[in-house]
Amino acid sequence: MTFLMMLISSALVSNVVLSRFLGICPFLGVSSSVKTARGMGIAVVFVVFISTLATFLINKYLLEVGGIFGIDLTYLQTIVFILVIACLVQFVEMFLKKYIKSLYNALGVYLPLITTNCAVLGVALTVVDNVKYPTLIYAIFYSIGTSIGFFIAIVLLANIRERIEYNDIPKAFEGKPIVLVAACLMSIAFYGFSTLNIGG
């Protein structure tokens, strides 16, 4: 039951984009149509899950005091994590290209963009710094919940943007400003979830 609560709280209550401001660039940049937004969302879910798994294990068994080296190397977290994520994204791309062609065709374009998505590094750093996620299973559930939150937010925004296309809006608000206003209203709506008392 705790894990279900964790999923809900990380996906909706403290939504990664709308209340913690991670991954704003793809959220505003790749949300002009529902199809691309869906592709980006799925790619993020995939990469966040794999990279959190890898960085959690690396932190636990290499960087922390109890690891192989026996000394505290946690000050290297930022450098190690970003390199691991960059390599992993490359590796996933190559693997998909070779073995799972259909998935590669769907996600291929978005994978290289994900390295500079702050949500990926943000989730990896949050998980290792927070005492709320002591074991791997907690980290996995948190990463899945967070990335589903990203998926929900970007697909909803893409739907709103497709409808905005057919509406008359003030000249000055055309383009980016109206998207930001839509994001603001979505953020207010998601703020309502914070009254849910689920102790996540």
Partner: protein, 234 residues
Amino acid sequence: MSEIGKENIIVEKENKTKNFLKILLNGIIFENPTFVLMLGMCPTLAVTTSFTNAIGMGLSTTFVLIFSNLIISALKNIIPNRVRIPSYIVIVATLVTIVQLLMQGYFPDLYNSLGIYIPLIVVNCIILGRAESFASKHNPVESIADGIGIGVGFTVALSIISIIREFFGNGSFLNIQIIDNKYHIMLFVLAPGAFLVLAILTAIQNAFRIKKDKSVINCNNDCMRCGLRNKEEE
């Protein structure tokens, strides 16, 4: 040395300082990273709840930007083209770790309130963007100028947003209470306020641009008194 040679050197020096200033201004105004290029949105929206946070974030980003631009432009002939992006990431990540440790040591309060957004400077698109589009093509002096310009532009943009949000949301400026507690608009310091303030600022900017464009389109065929033509002749 002949007179002409000396003059040439002076002119060259003047040109250099002019070029330096031009690059500086370009970063602050014409290619402002937040309002014009719309890059690095995550820290822009996340840390602008108070003026102190915004200045701290702006200055640390500026520091990283100046040194990453300097190092990358100095090493641009040594780094092989195929592995340039990973090399840039390593350089930037090293600088960010330096900032992180310094801030943890000397400004622990600021470090705690900025939290996860300090290590996330690594994935700030502004820094990698400038490395790729400017520092890898220009000499170190120009790259430092670009780093200062873009960094100051970013800091100014963050400050403007944070002053608005802090004033309406908390009724304060630099922790000095100006407006009474009763009249705060809480929305501005919460997450939606960040989107709203940025939307309105960009809309205002768009409105000015549209006004400017209109003056070009509404030509009343009075070419003798047209401001555009006079400008061209000058």
